[in-house]
């Protein structure tokens, strides 16, 4: 018998309960993922608070391709390929800012905020050669829901709202952590790890690793916070598939809908000084809403393929190569009156405590992922198991599975979508 494993198509490497280790290590599969997933579906590019004014822009990537997200004079959002139509130079190298448009540094072709080619220096050489109207920056379809901005290279893909589907309810719930105010981006950590992007994709719905990998963080927080994150044996803590590869993992189910508050839950004593400070300018109801939301919502909403709305922050992955991934942990806070600045200051401290390259949580995650990438080079045909909880899953009225928060239901949902997209011709 010859081993046909290496001839198998990527889609055949994914089963309901396992995937092949080769999914993390095969450069050919990675190239197909870029083309068939990242350049076909909706990819998260920004939160609207990052583009507050006319002329605001942000540089980011869709898959491996550099893009600029802009807000034009009329308030419309655009995602533009960051590549000059003349000879290909990037037209913007600032991470974010305010601009009237973008002028290529090489021969000074200039583009408007919507990508329209506005000017070509010494244009006589182009007379009878090009039509300026044909040479706008390449524009990606851009749509947003609940302040979350997504872009796609595929002009024929379903509308964003259809793609999000049942995840929209959870996006709405996530935004309630503003305590009645909108949320806004406060800052971001960026870090990289030497591993495949799907290791991160899995991790945002991996409740199982939490008490093991994050023992160091758990040991350092106050007892009430540690208790809040002790979901391992809480039967109410569940993960539910939402369709299209999305899933929601409810670690702290009593905080799934922050508006549902019967007033009996005591506020964490660590926030007593903050309560006193806020009470100087805000009424008690408002203060309670803000304090109950200090750790964000009680769930991770995992949106296939590149963003997780994780409790109190956004986790955004960027595939670099088959064995390198860059990740952003974007801290969010409350876009409210000056009195709530103290809330944001405290939220920044909570974020720093766990997240980022020197947090008490992230480096331990990264160590685990590094080990997965290294280990998975052994026996690339051997299965990576994603079967935890398969026998205790229940099916909801929506026809989708629910299981305990430590189960691998969310990974199965993501890989099912992966398989579907990688099978499309």
């Amino acid at each position: 018998m010859t081993d046909t494993f290496h001839d198998r198509s990527p889609a055949d490497l994914v089963a309901e309960d396992h995937v092949a280790g080769r999914l993390y290590t095969d450069p050919g599969i990675f190239e197909q993922e870029i083309a068939m997933i990242f350049e076909r579906t909706w990819v998260w590019v920004a939160h609207e608070s990052e583009l507050p004014a006319a002329g605001s822009f942000k540089s980011t990537h869709v898959g491996r391709q550099p893009v600029i997200v802009t807000r034009d004079r009329r308030g419309a959002l655009h995602t533009l390929l960051n590549r000059c139509r003349h000879r290909g130079a990037s037209v913007c190298e600032k991470p974010q800012g305010l601009a009237n448009g973008f002028t290529c540094p090489y021969h000074a072709w200039s583009y408007g905020l919507d990508g329209t080619l506005r000017g070509i220096p010494y244009p006589d050489g182009y007379e009878g050669v090009v039509d300026k109207g044909d040479l706008s920056l390449r524009k990606l379809r851009t749509e947003s829901y609940g302040g979350m901005v997504f872009a796609t290279f595929d002009d024929d893909v379903e509308p964003l709202e259809d793609f999000l589907g049942d995840a929209r309810l959870w996006i709405d719930r996530f935004m309630k952590q503003g305590g009645g105010y909108p949320i806004k981006v406060l800052g971001r950590h960026r870090f990289k790890f030497r591993g495949n992007w799907k290791i991160q994709l899995e991790n945002t719905t991996d409740g199982y690793h939490f008490p093991i990998v994050h023992r160091s963080w758990m040991a350092s927080v106050d007892p009430e916070t540690a208790d809040m994150m002790s979901f391992m044996t809480d039967p109410a803590a569940v993960t539910h598939a939402l369709g299209n590869g999305h899933s929601v993992m409810q670690m702290v189910p009593e905080h799934s809908d922050l508006d549902a508050d019967d007033g009996t839950e005591p506020l964490q004593s660590r926030f007593d000084p903050l309560v006193r400070e806020l009470s100087r300018t805000l009424d008690p109801t408002r203060v309670r809403r803000l304090i109950r939301a200090m750790h964000g919502t009680g769930f991770n909403l995992n949106l296939f393929p590149n963003v997780s709305m994780s409790a109190a922050f956004f986790r955004v992955l960027r595939p670099i190569s088959v064995d390198e991934t860059w990740i952003e942990h974007i801290a969010i806070g409350v876009d409210g009156p000056p009195g709530v600045e103290a809330v944001n200051r405290e939220r920044l401290r909570i974020h720093e405590h766990f997240q980022g390259p020197f947090g008490f949580g992230t480096p331990d995650d990264a160590e685990g992922w590094d080990r997965v990438q290294r280990g998975a080079r052994g026996a690339p045909e051997m299965p990576i198991l994603i079967n935890r909880g398969l026998a205790r899953e229940t099916t909801g009225p929506d026809g989708r599975p629910t299981s305990h928060v430590t189960d691998e239901t969310g990974m199965r949902a993501a890989y099912a979508k992966w398989k579907e997209m990688m099978s499309d011709a």
């Binding site: 991470p95 990289k192 008490f360």
Partner: protein, 173 residues
Amino acid sequence: MPERTDAPAPIPMTDPRVTRAVELVWREAELLDRKDYVTWNELFTDDGLYVIPVDPTGDDFADTLNMVYDDARMRRMRVTRMTEGYAIAAVDAARTVRTVSRFVPQSASDEEVVLRSAQILIAYKRGNHDIWAGEVLHRIRLSPEGPGGDRITRKVVRLVDSEEAVPAAGFLL
């Protein structure tokens, strides 16, 4: 506002107060490479701050996101994390070697020296060498009892790539 970089009259490196400060910075660097975090933490005053900001230009650390923003309490917890054996990143941390040089004394009095420097650190782990380069600021309180009592009241490490993706670290800068 960033700390001033255009001090009017240069302070000579031979100023004995500056020499004391440099010696403390070098002692600190060696403790960190040796991962002797308990002894390292003793170099800070109780109101000492240890900061690795994301934004390399500002010093409004409280109202912005930092990689590290440690007062005494956070620093104590961090030392526990680095030494107690639960943190898998610290248990399997990279080996580091760092040099601190290109000192620029910003101010020197009998009570305090403020010193800027450049730090180049190589972290080696599992076949990879990562470079961590940054501008460092030390604010050092000189003890009337002599150099053994000198303490750090503020240390800020501004990485050249602090706004870009850096590896997740199992050691300290």
